[in-house]
């Protein structure tokens, strides 16, 4: 491409950051220090354009090193990858963890989302000066939480939760966070080897493959190789497993659809962009049992004929990144990954792809664009990912928890797995319980436990707490009230009750929580996280937020009726006409609060 590069030259640090990922530029390539002869030659245009998927990792590399993406850095990346500067700017400004303006090397992101503000009143206005307000950081079980990113030759990421205001001020001032709590603390049922999905949490060393292998690790993969790919799909289909990310699509059907594609180049994506406010189950699984993730991905890839897998990991999970990176390296060195895995003849590789602060990138087609180096905007469906997905090839996209379920299914059988749960919701389910309970954390139950049982499992309400509401399924889910405690937590019962389990969020809100404030935060969240592509979501989320702001003052008056109607109208157009699930669900929680909890009155 005939690039036009405006003023701005990358400094040595920025060049190093780019080169550390892309390698040194050859003498005749764009961006290289050229001699007189070199200026007459240009190489690599077509080759370079095959590397566009390295754009986001390259931006990460620069951001990790210098803390922001300068004009010079964009110009250099532009030359190295043959992408126009404007396009890189469009991608860089899509992600909240990047900045195109110079900023301090140390960023203290303080969660101001639902669980954290309920716990501590952390809001945009109240957080200490110098801290950056952040959407849900996925450590809701020990709210309020803080993520510190200090850029440099080796980027440092630390999580502190719970964090006091004093600690946040100290973090902003440059103090290090104390060592993070043990992983297992987030799963109060553990250690308990009789659990199915959490069986190894708190028992194995997440960095040790020997520990993993001696605790049933890689037994499922061996069995999968023994029974063959088709039978793996048969078992998964028989298990009744459905996706655990929120959409509840039958996993077996998805796998069968990809396995039957005529196109042989196929991809597997593990959707680990867990960003739904109140959700942290995938984090606990990836941090505490990372080899299980590698094994289950390998089985999924074997069953569906994928050669390459990506873990699309949200950028705010440093411990999960460390443990997964280690697991992949170790698994590869022990021949559990790579060519001819366990002498089966099956080849499979996994790449971790870090998100950069965009909830929308958990949408399955937005992941494709993000990995391919474009703005993380969702694509149209049809065509569906099983036919045309990543790089235009058939692609399986499965949530982390979904994949973890594959191990017990293969280790025992689909039939055995289907014996757990209810008639319409098979198997085990993880719930993320946060808020006003004694022991918040990730809990494993059979589908069908009631909300009351689940809250009791988490130690019951905190002393002095009276239940005001429970948010099921996160910001895209819905509120239920104290009268719904006997709701069976199954997909069908939730649907019949007009609510959803979504990603398994159970956020328990007591009388101290300001529900209006929670609703305003949900509206702000969707406004911030809308990709901006379609009108119903881009403008609808803003109008929804404005209407709520008016209702705060007008509730109980005649004017409230107008805005309540306006909200219903907005909800309908967002649900009916938005491109993707983000816009389609952006009114759900607010709608439930208006209709079930009667937060505002006309």
């Amino acid at each position: 491409m005939d690039l036009k590069i405006a003023s701005g030259t990358a400094n040595a640090e920025e060049r190093n950051a780019v080169d550390s990922l892309l390698g040194q530029p050859s003498e005749t390539s764009q961006g290289a220090q050229r001699d007189e002869l070199g200026l007459r030659v240009s190489r690599g245009g077509g080759e370079l354009r095959q590397l566009r998927h390295l754009l986001l990792p390259t931006l990460h590399s620069v951001n990790d090193r210098v803390g922001f993406i300068s004009r010079g850095a964009i110009n250099y990346i532009s030359q190295r990858l043959d992408i126009a500067p404007a396009e890189i700017y469009g991608v860089a400004t899509f992600y909240a963890l990047f900045d195109t303006n110079e900023r301090p090397a140390r960023q203290v992101h303080v969660c101001i989302d639902l669980a954290c503000r309920a716990a501590s009143g952390c809001t945009e206005e109240t957080i200490p000066e110098g801290a950056i307000p952040s959407p849900c950081l996925g450590t809701c079980e020990r709210a309020p939480s803080v993520l510190v990113i200090e850029t440099g030759v080796t980027v440092r990421q630390e999580v502190l939760a719970p964090a006091t205001t004093k600690q946040i001020i100290e973090l902003v001032a440059g103090k290090s966070a104390p060592i993070e709590q043990p992983i297992a603390q987030a799963a109060p049922q553990t250690p308990d080897a009789s659990l199915v999905l959490l069986s190894r949490i708190g028992i194995v060393d997440p960095l040790s493959i020997d520990d993993y292998v001696s605790n049933d690790g890689y037994s499922a993969l061996r069995k999968a190789f023994a029974i063959g790919a088709e039978n793996v799909v048969v078992e998964v289909t028989a298990s009744g497993l459905v996706g655990r990310g929120g959409a509840a699509f039958p996993t077996g059907r998805k796998w069968a659809a990809v396995a039957s594609q005529p196109v042989k180049t196929r991809y597997l994506i593990c959707n680990a962009d867990e960003s739904e406010p109140g959700t942290f189950k995938d984090r606990v699984l990836m941090e505490g049992d990372p080899f299980a993730m590698i094994e289950s991905m390998t089985i999924a890839a074997f069953a569906t004929g994928c050669q390459h897998g990506y873990i699309y990991l949200r950028g705010e999970y440093p411990r999960a990144l460390r443990n997964l990176t280690n697991a992949i390296e170790v698994a590869r060195s022990k021949k559990y990954l790579g060519d001819n895995i366990l002498d089966s003849g099956f080849n499979f590789e996994i790449t971790i792809f870090r998100g950069a602060g965009a909830y929308i990138c958990g949408e399955e087609t937005a992941i494709f664009n993000s990995i391919e180096g474009y703005r993380g905007e969702p694509r149209n469906k049809p065509p569906f990912p099983v036919e045309v997905g990543l790089f235009g090839k058939p692609t399986v996209v499965n949530n982390v928890e979904t994949l973890f379920n594959v191990l017990p299914i293969i280790n025992s059988s689909g039939e055995k797995y289907a014996s757990w749960g209810s008639s319409g919701s098979k198997g085990k389910k993880l719930f993320c319980i946060s808020g006003a309970v004694k022991k918040p954390g990730v809990y494993e139950v059979n589908f069908g436990a009631t909300l009351r049982e689940l809250i009791n499992l988490a130690g019951g309400l905190k002393s002095g707490s009276q239940l005001q509401a429970v948010l099921l399924g996160g910001a895209a889910g819905g509120f239920v009230g104290p009268e719904d405690l006997d709701l069976e937590l199954t997909l069908e019962a939730a649907r019949a009750a007009g609510t959803t389990l979504g990603s398994g969020v159970v956020m328990v809100l007591d009388q101290s929580v300001n529900m209006v404030d929670q609703l305003q935060r949900i509206a702000a969240f969707f406004r911030d996280e809308s990709c901006g592509q379609c009108v119903p979501c881009r403008v609808g989320t803003v109008r929804q937020q404005e209407a709520l702001a008016r209702l705060v003052k007008s509730s109980g008056t005649d004017n409230a009726a107008i805005d309540l109607q306006l909200l219903r109208d907005l909800g309908q157009v967002m649900r009916d006409a938005s491109i993707c699930g983000l816009g389609q669900t952006a009114h759900n929680a607010i709608d439930s609060a208006l209709t079930r909890l009667k937060v505002f009155s006309a």
Partner: protein, 312 residues
């Protein structure tokens, strides 16, 4: 279900589907919008352009498709045998009305064709979200993932000053509905220049050069193909902009003359828009089989020599 129809020399398969209770056949690969329009239905469109792959971003052309949980965008959804489509239901009307209201309340649609008519037919009332806000935070400086909390007293808009940074055309992004057509025309669909992009996210998403530099510092080659596809008047010849500012722009009095660009051997088709015997802007027929409405800087802007008179 499928039959074959002959169009010219090509044999195209056709499929049968039902639109508003009536069975129709439509060529395979055509869209629901094509099929609806062919059977006489009027479907509003805003972001749709006939030379660009539909982005279906505006969502005003939504129709109801049996078996689909949500409405579907007719501009990009391909016809399939057996589809049962409804174009005029409570849901489609609601969506169109709300989309018109959402855009009308946040964007200056004064130069967008048909909007007044559609507002009337769908009873859209953009002012019901409150008085428009014209606060002047520079949208180019928006911080991704952050915003100022609204108080609800005014309705936020995309209002911002007109960008005038070159002699040939202006960019008035207060009129931009984010149809993406200019980005696609500048980039991979036509020009392959990639001078502009969508930057930012959500309501702050905006068309921009890298770091919002002036066009003169960007990769822009002034082909004006972005102006050609802009459906809202956000991108405009400076000549037109200045005449509109002066109140001398008089479209009904203008004539349009088709001719061939004199500069090179390609022979692009030009449409000269002439007012008072002066060329005021140049477009190109979008249905031209060679250029599809695209020109280069010479064809688009290089017309002054035609009207340099000896007496000038």
């Amino acid at each position: 279900m499928s039959t074959q129809v002959t169009t010219g020399l090509q044999v195209r398969k056709s499929v049968e589907l039902t639109i508003d209770g009536k069975k129709i056949t439509a060529p395979e690969d055509s869209t629901l919008l094509d099929a609806c329009r062919a059977s006489g239905k009027e479907i509003p469109t805003l972001c749709y352009g006939d030379t660009i792959t539909p982005k279906n971003a505006c969502r005003v052309c939504m129709v109801e498709l049996e078996g689909s949980r949500t409405l579907v965008p007719s501009c990009s959804r391909k016809v399939e045998a057996g589809m049962v489509v409804k174009t005029d239901t409570e849901r489609t009307s609601h969506s169109r009305k709300l989309v018109l209201e959402l855009l009308g309340s946040s964007v200056d649609l004064s130069l967008t064709k048909n909007v007044a008519k559609w507002n009337e037919s769908y009873s859209a009332n953009p002012s019901r979200f409150g008085a428009p806000s014209f606060h002047h935070d520079n949208r180019d400086d928006a911080v991704t993932g952050h915003h100022h909390s609204p108080d609800g007293q005014t309705a936020e808009t995309v209002h911002q000053p007109v960008k005038i940074d070159n002699a040939l055309y202006i960019r008035d992004y207060s009129k931009c509905i984010l149809c993406y057509q200019c980005v696609d025309a500048c980039g991979e669909q036509w020009q392959n220049t990639f001078a502009i992009t969508t930057a930012g996210r959500g309501f702050d998403a905006r068309i921009s050069t890298e770091f919002a530099v002036d066009l003169t510092d960007s990769a822009c080659v002034y082909c004006g193909n972005c102006i050609q596809v802009c459906p809202t008047g956000a991108l405009m010849f400076t000549s037109e902009y200045e005449m509109r500012q002066d109140g001398t722009w008089n479209e009904p009095e203008q004539t349009q003359t088709d001719t061939i660009c004199p500069y090179c051997g390609v022979g692009c088709a030009l449409t000269l828009h002439v007012q008072d015997n002066t060329i005021v802007k140049v477009t190109s027929p979008s249905d031209h089989s060679v250029t599809h409405g695209n020109l280069c800087i010479k064809g688009r802007f290089g017309f002054q020599h035609v009207q340099n008179h000896a007496s000038d």
